[in-house]
């Protein structure tokens, strides 16, 4: 900006233009909720994340995926200012996590992986305390605490000691805590772990609702959850970003290079030879089934769909064909493809 100002001064441009530039600058900055550049963290010689780069724009619900030990929690801990990065920068809502940590912390609702609470406090008391700590005081404190108790179904346990709560309820208190100051950005590290199926559904719905007004970064190992609620998926593997796209696009990417399955009754070798000869088929696996039918799996090029040819082939040779379909690709497959390919 300084440069722009000097440049404009030299050019003799009007103040008006300068202000316009500043406004544009502010707007683009405001659109970005998280900006991470070259983020690296090394724990006592062990590298957890290496040169992470990504951005999250306002209003996104981003699912942060990766195998165990990939560095999800590490990244989230840096973003929530719990610990500093070894190198690289990260900013939240335009504030740097290292140098403007309190500005960042007052805008982030963070739910750690292991929700640790004070066992001697009561739920109500704890939430009031946390709200006050985050600068929510007076009447608003009461309002917010009531609101999050409602959202996280904590009404029945509000007078209970936290030490006496079950794991799922403690998890809910953790979510309520993250929400209590109505933060711009929610960072949730495996929020649904330990919840019962009804609660999981409720929390997902909650996250989806919250996503209308907040930006959310959540990590999880439940891939169907990501497909249901996230507008974008960020896959991290061994400390590096391996993929960043919408769930559909990721699935699509694998599907195009994906496969076709068919069940045909024929002699195995002959069938195999005929299938491989089809255009676009790179590999054909023929496995006998219990009832004498053959299960065929075809790997194809991205641009070919050999289903029609398979049907015609079967008809021409007089082979009975009882099933023909495209492989259903789930995010699970994508995840496996992305995170395991790199290991080999």
């Amino acid at each position: 900006m300084n440069f722009a100002r000097r440049f404009l001064a030299i050019q003799g441009e009007s103040r008006h233009k300068l202000r316009f530039l500043e406004r544009v600058n502010k707007r683009t900055r405001n659109l970005l909720m998280i900006k991470v550049a070259g983020l690296t963290k090394t724990y006592a010689g062990v590298s957890a994340i290496q040169g992470l780069d990504f951005t999250v724009t306002k209003g996104e619900i981003v699912g942060f995926l990766g195998p165990n030990g990939a560095g999800k929690s590490t990244t989230m801990r840096i973003l929530s200012c719990f610990m500093p990065a070894t190198s690289g920068t990260a900013s939240v809502a335009g504030f740097d996590v290292a140098t403007q940590s309190r500005e960042v912390r007052s805008r982030v609702g963070y739910m750690p992986e292991n929700v640790a609470l004070y066992p001697e406090m009561r739920v109500q008391e704890y939430l009031e305390y946390r709200a006050a700590l985050k600068g929510v005081r007076g009447r608003r404190n009461r309002q917010r605490v009531n609101a999050v108790k409602e959202l996280c179904s904590l009404r029945d346990v509000e007078t209970k000691l936290i030490g006496a709560l079950s794991k799922g309820y403690r998890q809910r208190v953790g979510i309520a805590d993250a929400l209590v100051n109505d933060p711009d950005l929610l960072i949730l590290d495996e929020p649904t772990i330990g919840l019962d199926p009804n609660q999981i559904r409720q929390v997902r719905q909650l996250i989806r609702d919250l996503g209308k007004r907040h930006t959310i970064l959540l990590s999880t190992h439940i891939l169907s959850e990501v497909e249901m609620i996230c507008s974008r998926v960020l896959i991290i593997n061994r400390g590096r970003i391996a993929a960043s796209d919408t769930a559909e696009n990721l699935v699509g990417r694998v599907r195009t290079a994906g496969g076709v399955t068919a069940e045909i009754r024929a002699e195995a070798d002959e069938l195999q030879g005929a299938l491989v000869a089809l255009t676009g088929v790179r590999r054909a696996d023929v496995v006998p089934m219990d009832d004498g039918w053959m299960e065929c799996t075809l790997r194809t090029d991205a641009e070919h769909d050999p289903r029609e040819e398979v049907a015609r082939l079967a008809a021409a040779r007089g082979w009975p064909l009882r099933a023909l379909g495209r492989e259903q690709v789930s995010l699970e497959r994508v995840f496996a493809a992305i995170t395991q390919a790199e290991e080999m």
């Binding site: 724990y43 719990f82 500093p84 309190r102 750690p112 640790a116 004070y118 001697e120 700590l133 600068g135």
Partner: protein, 250 residues
């Protein structure tokens, strides 16, 4: 202000924890016995010490005093590190210095509460015997101010020890050793036979025993005041730095 929110939680944490009540109970037993022993000694015959002096200068008094400090401070930081609550605490928009001061303040508050009942002993004593407990308010005030000063210093040592480790037992052992060492350094005069005058001067400068002895006779000296306040500040400063740098080591 965040500081008061934090302080309130620290104080409540003491009174909600069973350990604190056990400490309080045994501490009362100890000081009660100490008081009784003091009065019994005075009962045996004429003596030149007052009951205040007798109370604040016995082995029971010092034993209880030194033992209770690590018990009060060991949980301050270590418990939060161990339980993991430090993560939610430090990701809230709080200042590091507020956290340190609130924890220290909570410990100091509990320390003061521990000694409040002993005031009652003296009140009852003067009611029953119709004697002013100390003969004058000087020794009384002196003894309690010195108690507070030494307590503030020792608590700051405990605070530092707790900030250093996630293990409460280690924190307690560290602060206990440090405090005992300091205390016994002040007793050097009793151990070294042919002590020189300068060495005696020096030891008396940091001898808690002597400070308390003088204060409970009603003698005011500004040197211990400066000594304890500055050391407390130094140890709190160290605590603050240790606490901050722990994040970098994580």
């Amino acid at each position: 202000m965040n500081f008061f929110t934090l302080l309130r939680r620290e104080i409540r944490a003491y009174f909600l924890s069973p350990v604190a009540w056990v400490v309080l109970f045994f501490f009362l037993l100890m000081t009660g016995f100490n008081f009784y022993a003091g009065v019994a000694a005075l009962n045996r015959g004429p003596s030149e010490v007052t009951v205040v002096e007798a109370f604040f200068n016995t082995i029971f008094f010092w034993f209880g005093f030194i033992l209770v400090i690590p018990l009060i401070t060991m949980r301050l930081f270590s418990e939060e590190y161990k339980m993991g609550t430090i993560e939610s605490l430090m990701t809230a928009p709080v200042r590091d210095s507020h956290v340190v001061f609130a924890k220290y303040g909570g410990a100091l508050f509990f320390f003061i509460v521990l000694w409040l009942p002993s005031l009652l002993y003296f009140m009852v004593f003067s009611r029953v015997t119709k004697l002013a407990a100390a003969g004058a308010s000087g020794p009384f005030l002196g003894a309690y101010s010195m108690l507070l000063l030494i307590g503030m210093f020792y608590l700051s040592i405990g605070c530092l020890a707790s900030a250093l480790t996630r293990n409460q037992i280690i924190a307690a052992i560290m602060s206990f050793s440090m405090i005992t060492l300091l205390f016994f350094m002040g007793l050097l005069t009793f151990f070294i036979l042919n002590i020189t005058a300068t060495l005696r001067e020096m030891t008396s400068y940091f001898s808690a025993l002597e400070h308390m002895g003088e204060a409970s006779r009603g003698i005011f000296d500004s040197r211990p005041l400066v000594f304890y306040l500055s050391l407390t500040a130094i140890f709190l400063f160290l605590t603050f730095h240790v606490f901050q740098s722990r994040r970098w080591r994580n």
